[in-house]
């Protein structure tokens, strides 16, 4: 009985001939993969990845790891959703997303979520290195969310904070706060970690007391 069901499951669906190759494949072996995105633009300092699911990108400030011989580590500083066709832009329908999914299902095939990450280091033989990687992440490599354990291992020291503060692309303080809220959670809001982080921050922005206190207040609450 079980055997018959298995055979039935493996039989290709009548529609598979019409599916794009990657979709037909995804239906089979790739389904259990856990990646959140795939790199589509890559440089030494930052990358852009396409989210696997629409609206399924990681959150602002989250840590990611990119599959490679020397896995690259980054933090998300921008998530955006847009039309996949340059000459077609979304227009307002006046319907809820639920209504649109039932009655205008093609819309969701024409949108794509992408995210941008700031590269902050890499893993060498499993050990975190807080230096930019020797080679950028490769296009089409898979992006994974870092586990709490990986975040804890990487944030064993705080040199990477300088990299965030030195970047000019984003509202730096906002990114810093978002990142630290993630790391604090990964450290299970440990008091030791909070104190160490506060000290590092005061070293980095000690000349601007108002800014420092604003950051610490917003991280800790």
């Amino acid at each position: 009985m079980t055997r018959v069901e298995n055979v039935k499951e493996r039989k290709p669906s009548p529609l598979s001939r019409f599916m794009p190759d990657e979709m037909a494949k995804r239906d089979g072996a790739g389904a259990e993969r856990t990646y959140v995105g795939e790199v589509v633009e890559s440089s030494t300092t930052e990358l852009i990845a396409e989210a696997r699911e629409l609206h399924g990108g990681p959150s602002f400030g989250e840590f990611i790891r990119i599959e490679a011989d020397l896995p690259v580590l980054g933090i998300i500083f921008n998530v955006f959703t847009h039309s996949i066709e340059p000459n077609r832009r979304p227009t307002a329908y006046g319907k809820t997303e639920e209504e649109l999914r039932l009655e205008q299902p093609q819309i969701f095939e024409l949108l794509r979520t992408e995210f941008q990450a700031l590269i902050i280091g890499y893993l060498d033989g499993g050990a975190p290195v807080q230096i930019l990687p020797p080679q950028p992440a490769r296009i089409h490599s898979f992006v994974h969310l870092c586990t709490d354990e990986e975040v804890r291992a990487f944030t064993g020291n705080d040199d990477y904070l300088r990299r965030i503060l030195n970047t000019s692309k984003v509202p730096t303080d906002e990114l810093l706060i978002a990142v630290l809220r993630h790391t604090l959670r990964a450290h299970e809001r440990s008091r030791d970690y909070l104190v160490r982080m506060g000290k590092e921050l005061s070293r980095l922005m000690g000349d601007d007391y108002d800014r420092l206190s604003s950051v610490i207040r917003r991280v800790a609450n």
């Binding site: 009548p14 529609l15 019409f18 077609r88 039932l102 009655e103 205008q104 299902p105 093609q106």
Partner: protein, 411 residues
């Protein structure tokens, strides 16, 4: 290079002519509407005249009269729409290879279930000797644009049938939409074996759709057809049974006057005043029907009398005009849809719904087009790809000097 200044003066002249045509047009339309109203209650008399007469133009077979609009039925909450469209890269003998490519776009949209739609395209490259040469009517010929066009339309239809059947096999209630006409009138005049082969493949696809009870409909946007106008023209003919070949007015004009007079009359004829049926010359059905229907409504069914349909067997094509709000569309359906009230209503409801969703044009067909389309830039990339691959594999090629000249024009 286009001399825009020279074009501009010609456009100015055109506008003057166009204005005169439009004034003339309004008078014609009023006459057509009056005639339509006149025949509405006694359409059977007109239908009889249609059956008896022999005209040089195509007349509609009247099935349920002229009449007003049929209201839009409600669409079932859960329904899937299948659609295909095709595009091609024509063979170009100035290029490295005389191959050609057909790209088919597939769309399967599921409504009311939230299920992920299928939107894809599949290209097929034809390059083998037996693919780029075909033998029809005892003549071996290079596959030209015309033949590629036929091949593409045939593929659009057979692939649509396969897609709809696969959807049905997965348990989806489905309606199949085809872009353009279901009447293969352009097979007329082709070699007999070519015509038979194309017809047979099309009708087999039709058979499979009928057996699975999947309604199929062809949608024609901005139809230029004039069958209803032609029926009204016949109505204007004072003869009880018209025979255009022996039209007495035509004969009188040709024979009864001297040369000067003929010149004057022919000019008059050209303006559409010469024959009893001429006052309606130049109108089309869509214009007439747009004044009869309100949004969502369709006309009664008409049977197409196109000659090719004599070979369609049980799939003879009926049509109706549909006011989708933004325009009047023409919807063509095979006999087994036309005579099955449930399927007919389903087609009517889905067509309106599709046009609503696509801001005036069926959304599934629009998306199928988007998937299928091969743009100029794609074509250039394709040929660059082809040349590079040929070179990499040490295959001797040459492109014509004409093609070379088009790309690099020296001064």
């Amino acid at each position: 290079m286009l001399d825009l200044y020279a074009v501009k003066t010609q456009i100015d002249d055109m506008v003057v002519d166009e204005r005169r045509v439009q004034e003339d047009f309004r008078a014609k339309l009023e006459l057509a509407l009056a005639e339509y109203r006149r025949w509405e209650p006694e359409w059977q008399t007109l239908a009889t005249k249609i059956n008896k007469s022999r005209t040089s133009w195509l007349l509609p077979g009247m099935a349920d009269g002229l009449g007003g609009g049929v209201e839009r039925p409600e669409r079932p909450a859960e329904i899937s729409i299948a659609a295909t469209d095709g595009s091609q890269i024509f063979p170009d003998r100035h290029e490295v290879s005389s191959c050609f490519l057909i790209n088919i776009g597939y769309i399967l949209l599921h409504y009311g279930t939230g299920e992920k739609p299928l939107m894809s395209s599949k290209p097929t490259l034809y390059y083998r000797e037996e693919e780029i040469f075909e033998e029809w009517g005892g003549r071996r010929m290079f596959v030209n644009r015309d033949l590629v066009g036929f091949k593409r339309s045939l593929m659009e239809f057979t692939e649509l049938a396969d897609l709809a059947l696969a959807a049905k096999a997965e348990g989806h209630p489905v309606v199949a939409l085809s872009d353009g006409t279901l009447i293969l009138w352009n097979l007329e005049g082709k070699p007999q074996d070519f015509k038979e082969s194309y017809l047979q493949t099309t009708l087999e696809a039709m058979d499979s759709l009928r057996d699975a009870r999947i309604p199929v409909a062809g949608y024609i946007s901005q139809p230029g057809s004039q069958e209803l106008i032609n029926a009204l023209k016949l109505g204007l003919c004072p003869l009880e049974v018209a025979d255009c070949d022996r039209c007495p007015w035509q004969a009188e004009n040709q024979l009864g006057f001297n040369e000067d007079e003929i010149g004057a009359i022919q000019d008059d004829l050209w303006r559409g005043h010469g024959l009893p049926c001429s006052p309606l010359e130049g109108l089309n059905d869509a214009v007439l029907v747009s004044h009869v229907l309100s949004p969502g409504q369709r006309t009664p069914l008409y049977l197409s009398t196109s000659k090719i349909l004599n070979e369609y067997g049980s799939h003879r094509i009926y049509y109706f005009y549909l006011d989708v709000g933004a325009e009047i569309g023409r919807v063509e359906i095979p006999e087994w849809v036309a005579t099955d009230p449930e399927l007919l209503e389903l087609v009517h409801a889905c067509m309106c719904d599709q046009a609503d969703k696509g801001q005036g044009y069926p959304v599934a067909l629009a998306e199928a087009h988007e998937r299928a389309v091969v743009r100029g830039a794609d074509r250039d990339t394709f040929y660059r790809f082809l040349r590079d691959t040929f070179v990499k594999n040490n295959i001797q090629t040459s492109i014509s000097t004409k093609s070379f000249k088009k790309r690099y024009v020296g001064i």
